[in-house]
């Protein structure tokens, strides 16, 4: 199987949820969660997806793994439209795309032993008992868990270990893409770094592509290859991760970065540009640029026209802001 450069390609993807009301449960409005996303996940890279809560990060992940269907637009997986993937092909698809979640305790079955949680994945593929055990032991070793872990239950492990069980479960089927939805947010600082480093080394060994969903800009800047910044269902900026903290141009990205707590108390006196207000409701989207109500640099055009995501000529940088185009 030859693989295209982009593992996932999204074109004008829209996801609206209906709001039902009245006696007859008629549609009275809609929650516009994803509003036209153009985005690609490059093979072999770690792509970061950042934004505030409610901006549609997790909905996007659900669309990618076919937990939800998009309202309009096309999603291509290895150049094949996602809605055409059915039947036996769908089973294969689920092998290739795996996901890990924020809270490992709630995503691991408390009544199953680790050997079953992890082994179930390959058992479904019909491998024999011997092969299954061998595979489980190998993957547990790779995520740096002890061999005697196989006979224990999830509650017997620490948070970091549980997240590594979840990683083992996702990687035992050797997927092409791993979607990690806030994989380290529930962990302590020292464990966050350790888990991310482990993911990075596994990525190399398994030739993985990773989509890392996070709200922590610093982690994303350190750990990813490229970063997409989302705001109210649109991608407002996409750029290489090493340029995120120094060369971002969108006022929203800048505001996110200036909101990161300082690391040195002597910088406290410096005035920071804290953006006012909160994310508008996706039920009642403002016209024009979704960010204009909070933007410190808005001008007339921003209230009326939605800026498109455009590539800056000669650079690996996409931006949706009139100010910079």
């Amino acid at each position: 199987m030859s693989h295209p450069l982009e593992i996932f390609t999204l074109k004008e993807v829209v996801k609206h949820y209906p709001i039902l009301g009245g006696i007859f449960k008629r549609k009275v409005g809609q929650v516009r969660v994803i509003n036209g996303i153009n985005f690609a996940i490059a093979r072999g890279e770690i792509t970061g997806l950042v934004g505030e809560s409610g901006c549609g990060k997790s909905t996007l992940a659900k669309l990618l793994i076919k937990l939800e269907e998009s309202t309009s637009g096309t999603i291509l997986f290895n150049d094949r439209p996602l809605d055409l993937i059915k039947g036996a092909e769908k089973k294969q698809f689920y092998r290739h795309v795996q996901m890990i979640f924020q809270d490992p305790l709630s995503s691991l079955n408390p009544r199953m032993k680790v050997k079953d949680i992890v082994g179930e994945m390959v058992r479904i593929q019909g491998v024999g008992k011997e092969v299954e055990k061998e595979k489980v032991l190998r993957i547990l070793q790779e995520v740096e868990l002890d061999v005697d872990a196989i006979n224990r239950y999830p509650h017997e492990f620490s948070g970091g270990q549980r997240q590594r069980i979840a990683i083992a479960r996702a990687l035992i089927v050797e997927p092409q893409l791993l979607i990690a939805d806030e994989p380290v947010s529930a962990l302590d600082l020292s464990l966050q770094a350790k888990t991310l480093t482990l993911l990075q080394s596994l990525k190399k060994r398994y030739n993985l592509t990773i989509l890392l969903i996070s709200h922590d800009l610093k982690k994303v800047a350190d750990f990813c290859d490229s970063v997409a910044v989302m705001y109210l269902g649109r991608i407002v900026e996409m750029l290489p991760a090493d340029k995120l903290l120094s060369q971002c141009r969108h006022p929203y990205t800048k505001a996110l970065i200036s909101s990161i707590p300082i690391t040195d108390p002597s910088q406290r006196k410096k005035k920071k540009a804290v953006i006012r207000g909160e994310v508008p409701s996706p039920i009642d989207l403002p016209p024009g640029c979704a960010f204009h109500q909070r933007c410190p640099k808005r001008f007339e055009k921003c209230d009326l026209v939605v800026p498109e995501l455009k590539t800056t000529p000669g650079e690996d940088h996409q931006l949706a802001c009139f100010l910079q185009q």
Binding site: E52, S53, G159, D188, L189, S190, Q192, A193, L196, T197, H215, L217, K218, K219, A221, D222, F223, A255, L256, S258, S259, I260, P261, I262, T263, D264, P265, S266, Q267, R268, K272, V274, I275, R276, E278
Partner: protein, 270 residues
């Protein structure tokens, strides 16, 4: 150890030990933790999960449930009096009134079936004998102070109807309602987005200046501490690792554990 200007602290904790009873036997959760909180100052308590930072905050007002609590020893002096010797009714007069709490997750701390207004009024009337109308006016005033727009409408809202940032502001308004001397905030910004976190931290800074309160700020995020605290207490496994002024700890950390924590926020993924 610290404070060149040694004034009388508003809260002084000496050799606080907390022991839990578990199935596996007794466990020392806090081991001789001591600190001082000066008036108009902010003390940051930092540590990883399980280090005892929340237990330290809870033990100040004897809020740890028993079981698992087995025994507490040491001294917690609030304006000279030892809170550990207080009776239940004496403690009740201090709780909420003189020392108030803010918790991490406002959605679980607020009552979902009462409006924001009811909950603020309840708190005011529990500690002051004033009319409902007066209490309501005070509630509007408090919501304005914590930066909630259109406070009169918000009084009628239930907690689920407002955003996370606004819920946390409402929690702060409830905590402020009796003009406490000390505010204990346990991870008050952890559940919030960075932009909202920055707004709430600005609110805390404003309150420290305008009200002259003392704050105990419990968090695992050293970045938040760097923004707001004057002194810092680093805990690990119930023991004090480091306790000094913020500048000293950030620029010249003595303990290897503190050094490692600081390197994690400064260097990112190591």
């Amino acid at each position: 150890m610290m404070h060149s200007q040694e004034t009388k602290p508003i809260l002084e904790v000496n050799d606080l030990c907390v022991v839990f009873k578990t199935e596996a036997g007794r466990a020392t959760i806090l081991d001789k933790v001591s600190f001082k909180l000066q008036k108009n100052k902010t003390l940051g308590i930092v540590g990883e999960s399980g280090s005892g930072k929340t237990i330290t905050a809870l033990s100040v007002l004897n809020l740890i449930p028993s079981p698992p609590l087995d025994s507490m020893s040491g001294e917690i002096r609030f304006q000279g009096e030892n809170l550990l010797t207080f009776t239940k009714s004496q403690l009740r007069k201090v709780r909420g009134n003189r020392i108030a709490y803010i918790f991490q997750e406002p959605m679980t701390a607020l009552n979902p079936v009462l409006t924001i207004g009811d909950q603020i009024v309840e708190m005011i009337r529990a500690h002051n004998s004033i009319s409902k109308k007066e209490a309501r006016d005070k509630a509007v005033h408090l919501l304005t102070e914590v930066g909630i727009t259109s406070p009169i409408q918000r009084l009628k809202n239930y907690p689920h109807e407002i955003s996370g940032g606004m819920r946390q502001r409402a929690m702060i308004a409830i905590a402020l309602s009796c003009d406490p001397d000390i505010l204990i905030a346990d991870e008050p910004t952890t559940a919030l987005d960075v932009t909202i976190q920055a707004q709430v931290l600005d609110l805390f800074k404003y309150l420290i200046e305008s009200r002259g309160m003392s704050i105990i700020f419990v968090t695992h995020d050293l970045g938040v501490i760097a923004e707001i605290a004057d002194d810092i207490l680093v805990l690990q496994a119930g023991k004090t690792i480091e306790y000094d002024s913020i500048d000293k700890v950030f620029h010249d950390p003595q303990h290897p554990y503190t050094q490692k924590l600081l390197s994690l926020i400064k260097g990112g993924v190591a």
